[in-house]
Amino acid sequence: MADPRTGSSARSPAGSSSGSSAESSSGSSPGPNGGHHTLCAEGLTLAYDKVVVATDLSVAIPAGQITTIVGANACGKSTLLRALARLLRPRAGRVLIDGESIHRLPTKVVASRLGILPQSPIAPEGITVADLVGRGRYPHQKWFRQWSSADEAVIAAAKEVTGTLDLATRPVDELSGGQRQRVWIAMALAQGTDLMLLDEPTTYLDLAHQVEVLDLLVDLNRREERTIVLVLHDLNHAARYSHRLIAMSDGRLVAQGSPAQIVTESLVEQVFGLECRVIPDPVAATPMVVPVGRHALAALETQPYPCPPEPNGASPVERGARPTSGGCA
C-alpha cells in the first residue's frame, strides 16, 4: 500500500487538465484552481439552537488532497464538516466555495460541486442498490428530463470504482456493513462532484472493512483527483490516510498540518487527554499513536495489580509472574 501522503507530489501534471474535463460534462463550472473547486471557512461560530459548539474556526481545504478532521467526541468535528457542507448555517463567519458564500449560491449549484455523505444516511426499506445510487444524480436532473445516458455512464463508473456493479438488484438492507458503505460512497460519487465530504465513513465497520473504505477513498483521490474531507475517530487511520489533519478540541482548532508535522505526543495529550507514545507506522512510516493507558495485559501478567504502568512503557521485569491483587497498596 503506497503512502497516500506522497500523492500530492507524485501526482502527474496531467492530473489537473483531466480534472477540468470532468467538470464540463457534469454540468458545473470549473473552479479557479486548475479544475478543482476550492472550499474554505472564515471565522466560523457554530451553534445548535442557543448552544455554541465551536468558535473561531478558519480552515482552508487544500484542493486534490485528503483532509481529515480529528478530535475527541463532541469536540465539534462533525459540526465543522456539516458547516462546510452548508448543512448547518454558521452563527458567524462564512464558508466559501470558489470564493463565493456557500449559503448565497443556489443549493443545487453547490450540490454539483460538493457532495456530502452524512454520518447516518437512511436507506429506505426495500430500496435496491441501483435505486439508491441513482438518487445521487438528483442535482443534475430536472423534473421534465430525468434520465440521460450521461447519468447512466456516471452511475456505471461510480459502481465500477466502488465494486458495487454486481449488487445492482440487491436490496440495500441485505448487504454487509462494508458493502453498504461502498454503496453509499457510490451514491456520493454519482453526484459527480470533485469535492467530497464524508462524516465518519468507517463507523460501525470492522477493521478490514474500515481499511477497505479508506483505501477506496485514497484511490478516488489519487486516480480522479478528488478533494476529500473526512471526519475520522481513529487517529491512526487519519494519520495514515490523510495529507492533512485538522485537530479540534472543545470547539476550537488546535493544529492544522500534515500528520508528520502535527501528530505528536503533546498534541494527542491536548486533543484527546490521552497519554501516548508516537512511533513510526511500520508499514507507511506515518506517525502511529500507541496509548499508554492504565493497563497493559502483558504488564498485568508480570506486575502486581493495580500498579500504574511505567510512563516510558518499560518492559516487564519478571516474566510469567501471576497477577496478584493489592501489591502496591
Binding site: R82, V109, A111, S112
Partner: protein
C-alpha cells in the same frame, strides 16, 4: 465525468457497465408500469361491476352505453345519477387517501405515519362533526370544515412534535395522542347533538359512500386534478428526502420548502377525501405498503393511488352486495382489512426494535 470514463478503473470497460446500469433501471421501471397497468385493469373491472351490480342489476354490456347516456331511460338514470357518482367518489377518495398515505409514510420514514393513524383524519372528522352538529351545515361547508380541521391538526402535531427538527418517532406518538384528544372531542359533540344530526354524523364518521352524488365527486376530483400533478412533480425531491435530511440537503434539495409543499399536498388530499366520504378507515395506511410490496420499490406514488382506488371500490362493492339487502358502510370493510395489518406491523416493528 469524462475523465472517469476515460480511465476505467475496474476490469470491465465502461460500455457493458453502463448497459447493465441502464438494464437495472429499465427493469425497475417496467415492474412499476406492469403493476400500475394491472391495478388499473383491476380498478376498471371493479368499477364496471360496481356500476352494474345492485338491486336493479344492469348487464355489464349495457354499463358503458349507460354511462354515456345511450342506454334505456331506467338504466341511464340509475347509472348516471346513483351508481356512477358513487363509484367515481370511491375511485377518487381511494386514490387521494392512497397518495396521502404514501406521502406521509415516506416523509416520516415510518409505515405507521399515515394520516389516519397520526390524527390528521381525526382532525378532519372533529371539524366536520362540529359543522354538522353545531352549525347544522351540509355538503360543501362540511367539506371546507374538514379541510380546515385537517390542516390545523397537521400544524398542531408538527409544532407539538418539533424539537430541533421532527423525528418520526415523536411525530407518530404525538399524532396518536392528538388523534385521541380529537376523537374525544368528536364523541363530546355527538353527545350534545340532536338525534337526527348525531345519526348523520355517525354515518359520516364510519366512512360511507352511500348516497354520494356529483356534489361529492366535484371537490375531490378538483383536488386530485390540482394536487396529483403537484405530488408527481415533488416525487423526485421526496425520493431524496427519504435518505435523511442531511443527505437530501447535500443533494441540493430545498428540504424545508419541499417538505412543507408535500405536507400541504398530503393534508389536502386526506382532507378532501375525508370530506367526501368520511374517514374511511385504514385506506391511507395500507394502500402505499401494498403498492410498495407489489412494485418492490420504496416509493411508488401512482401504484399507491391506484391500489387505494381499487381497495375502496372493492370494499364498497363488498359492503353493498355481500349482505344484501343490508348495506355495510365502506369504512367497516376497509377496517376489517386494515386492523390486522396494523397489528401485524406493530408486532413486527416491536420485534425488529423499530417500534413507533
Amino acid at each position: 465525468m469524462k475523465a472517469l470514463l476515460e480511465r476505467p478503473l475496474g476490469t470491465r470497460d465502461p460500455g457493458p457497465a453502463t448497459a447493465a446500469v441502464a438494464r437495472a433501471r429499465s427493469a425497475g421501471r417496467a415492474r412499476a408500469t406492469t403493476v400500475s397497468a394491472a391495478l388499473a385493469v383491476a380498478g376498471a373491472v371493479a368499477f364496471a361491476v360496481s356500476v352494474s351490480a345492485g338491486d336493479f342489476p344492469i348487464p355489464l354490456v349495457d354499463v358503458v352505453p349507460a354511462i354515456f347516456g345511450y342506454g334505456n331511460a331506467d338504466s341511464d338514470f340509475i347509472v348516471r345519477t346513483l351508481r356512477l357518482p358513487r363509484a367515481l367518489t370511491a375511485v377518487l377518495v381511494g386514490a387521494a387517501f392512497g397518495l396521502s398515505g404514501a406521502i406521509f409514510q415516506s416523509l416520516a420514514r415510518n409505515p405507521l405515519a399515515s394520516p389516519d393513524i397520526i390524527g390528521i383524519t381525526a382532525g378532519a372528522s372533529a371539524a366536520a362533526v362540529f359543522m354538522i352538529v353545531a352549525v347544522g351545515a351540509g355538503g360543501a361547508t362540511v367539506a371546507v370544515g374538514a379541510f380546515g380541521g385537517a390542516l390545523a391538526t397537521a400544524v398542531a402535531i408538527y409544532l407539538l412534535a418539533y424539537r430541533r427538527g421532527v423525528s418520526s418517532h415523536r411525530l407518530v406518538l404525538v399524532g396518536i395522542g392528538v388523534g385521541a384528544v380529537l376523537a374525544s372531542v368528536t364523541s363530546y359533540l355527538l353527545t350534545r347533538a340532536e338525534v337526527f344530526d348525531a345519526q348523520r354524523a355517525t354515518v359520516w364518521l364510519t366512512g360511507s359512500l352511500n348516497g354520494r352524488g356529483w356534489e361529492h365527486v366535484r371537490p375531490v376530483g378538483l383536488a386530485m386534478m390540482v394536487l396529483f400533478p403537484a405530488v408527481v412533480a415533488l416525487a423526485r425531491p421526496l425520493r431524496a428526502l427519504q435518505l435523511g435530511d442531511d443527505a437530501a440537503k447535500g443533494l441540493g434539495v430545498g428540504v424545508e420548502r419541499c417538505r412543507a409543499a408535500l405536507v400541504v399536498a398530503g393534508v389536502g388530499l386526506a382532507a378532501v377525501a375525508t370530506a367526501s366520504a368520511g374517514p374511511v378507515a385504514f385506506v391511507a395506511f395500507v394502500a402505499a405498503p401494498i403498492a410498495r410490496r407489489l412494485v418492490k420499490a420504496p416509493l411508488t406514488l401512482v401504484p399507491a393511488a391506484l391500489s387505494g382506488a381499487v381497495l375502496v371500490l372493492v370494499a364498497d362493492l363488498v359492503g353493498r352486495r355481500a349482505f344484501a339487502p343490508t348495506e355495510l358502510p365502506v369504512g367497516i370493510i376497509t377496517g376489517v382489512i386494515g386492523a390486522p395489518y396494523l397489528l401485524w406491523l406493530l408486532a413486527r416493528s416491536n420485534r425488529v426494535g423499530r417500534g413507533g
